[in-house]
Amino acid sequence: MGVLKDFFNLVKGMTITGKHLGRHAVTIQYPEQKMEMFERSRGVVVLLSDKETGELNCTMCMLCMRACPTAAIQIDAPRDENKKRVLNSFVIDNTLCCYCGLCEEACNFCAIKMAPLYEFSTWNKDDLVWDVKKLQEMGRDVPYEDTRKKKPAAADKPAAEKKPAAAANPGADAKPAAPEAKPAAPEAKPAAPEAKPAAPTEKPEETKDEAAPSKAEPSDDDKKGDV
């Protein structure tokens, strides 16, 4: 009887093994094969560009900066004499980012998005502070649904007006010089680390203080945002 029982157990075990024989593998060979991320996956923050003109969608309304709970987004865009905002710098510190996605929700112009990209590790911590050029480059191929309210005449006009301002930015020529853009990126980096050492300690309080009084002042942006 014992032999029979052992034999039965053996058959039972082999049946289970047989069931799994034809099953496909669940593991993937990472560097060659890559996992398909969900479209909504919140990876790294990127800046999106217009699909036709290739310019940044950003209108420098600063809503994302104020929505960010960790002050990872720093925008410097003072108004010029025509009360138009001119983008001096748009820096995202990926070491501070907590990937909550509030910036993306605050944006009404499809300008900032948490893209399903996850390969952005570096050897140097300072390389994780990204400027506008790098952010635009990362967002180049990110698909997105353009939900901006198109006001045909009005939308064209500011875009045309913005052109000179945007051209002054490196953003516009980044596209044709795609291979060149890479060497340009490390060039830009030394500038960022210089600003960094002071940043980690001062940033949180600084921006909080800034954000609090400014709450009442740029309410025109808020209204725009609520529409």
Binding site: R42, A67, C98, G101, L102, E105, D226
Partner: protein
């Protein structure tokens, strides 16, 4: 020659001990292998979330609550949202309520599956870990598909939820529920009658119902001691009063019953998810007057909100002074009380049993330390 004598000695378990599920230090007073006294030392994972909340706006607090108890972040989002909604008298749309319940219950299942795997691994069985995490993956994928993250969801917000579910969510969710329902027999078959598992768990770490109440223990640990108390039934929040489910109760109060209790709760959660999927209405997911992340100001006042988490009562006390930032936020996690009750559970236990008891409490340190 002096006679042989023994003396008590003190050893440290942790803070970096794999079975402490985080960084908890236990100072043990030992008599040989026997544990005489245990003194938990907490604070290694303190991040002062409560204080940070005071200079964030209400919506910005939600990601912080994600980090409060990261295994069931949905509950943490939920408890803060409930508090703010109570404070500002916000009406939550019907669809958002259903989505919340689906997410909360899926998260509870995911948490209990993690418990199933990790506890078994602490005691020395590797296979349950693979089983438990295999099915947890299905749920985590559902979350990622909906809100974009696998752990810190930031999904349930004051007023509703951040995003509607994608169209493929419902079929995938139904499939996941079906798979987990089928696999429940596998889980039970693997451990329930396993002689090693029973020797390690039955009668170990007894906690009486009186002690459980006295120490403020709640959740599955209290219910395994015979305290039939579940906030979903006793003080229903959201729309839990509409669903047909039971509160399982076990009476022995030992490690084995705590394990059985959690498996029984998975089954009830599966029932709730199925009912919520069936009843899911169409509609809005945010109130008509959408809450602005920066300028939202609830009226001055104070409020306590609580939900039933997979680790007991999860509560938050929010004091508002009428500005866009909370004046004070206090968090209450179930793990804290369960950890405090540990010293009374160690009667006559060996050091190996201590690992089993600690695992059966399913304590998670960020919830203790905040």
């Amino acid at each position: 020659m002096s006679p042989l004598r023994t003396e008590e000695f003190t050893i440290n378990m942790g803070p970096h001990h794999p079975s402490t599920h985080g960084v908890c230090r236990l100072i043990l007073t030992m008599d040989g292998e026997k544990v005489l006294k245990v003194e938990p030392v907490i604070g290694y994972l303190h991040r002062s979330i409560e204080k940070i909340c005071e200079n964030r706006t209400y919506v910005q607090c939600v990601p912080l609550f994600d980090r409060f108890e990261y295994v069931t972040s949905m509950s943490c989002n939920m408890v803060f949202s409930l508090a703010v909604e109570k404070l500002a008298q916000i009406e939550v749309p019907e669809r958002a309520e259903y989505l919340r319940v689906i997410m909360l219950e899926l998260n509870r299942i995911a948490s209990h599956l993690l418990f199933y795997g990790v506890t078994a691994m602490d005691i020395g069985a590797l296979t349950p870990f693979l089983y438990g995490l295999r099915e947890r993956e299905l749920i985590v994928d559902l979350f990622e598909m909906t809100c974009g993250q696998r752990l810190t969801y930031n999904y349930i917000r004051p007023g509703g939820v951040s995003r509607d579910i994608p169209p493929e969510f419902i079929p995938k969710c139904r499939e996941a529920v079906k798979i987990i329902t089928e696999k429940m027999s596998d889980y039970e078959g693997l451990l329930n009658e396993n002689p090693i598992w029973k020797v390690r768990n039955v009668g170990i770490g007894y906690l009486s119902a009186e002690d459980a109440i006295a120490w403020g223990v709640s959740g599955p640990v209290a219910r395994a001691s015979g305290v039939s108390y579940d906030i979903r039934k006793n003080d229903p929040y959201s729309i839990y009063d509409r669903f047909d489910f039971e509160i399982p109760v076990h009476h022995n109060g030992d490690c084995y019953d705590r394990y059985l209790q959690r498996l029984a709760e998975i089954k009830q959660s599966l029932r709730i998810v199925t009912q919520a999927l069936d009843g899911l209405p169409e509609g809005e997911i945010q109130p008509k007057k959408k809450i602005n992340a920066i300028t939202f100001k609830p009226p001055a006042g104070e409020v306590y909100a609580r939900v039933e988490n997979s680790r007991g009562e999860l509560g938050t006390y929010v004091v508002s002074d009428g500005t866009n930032k909370p004046l004070r936020v206090k968090m209450r996690g179930g793990s804290y009380n369960q950890l405090q009750a540990l010293p009374i559970m160690i009667k006559d236990c060996l050091i190996a049993d201590l690992v089993a008891i600690f695992a059966s409490l399913d304590v998670i340190m960020p919830e203790v330390d905040r």
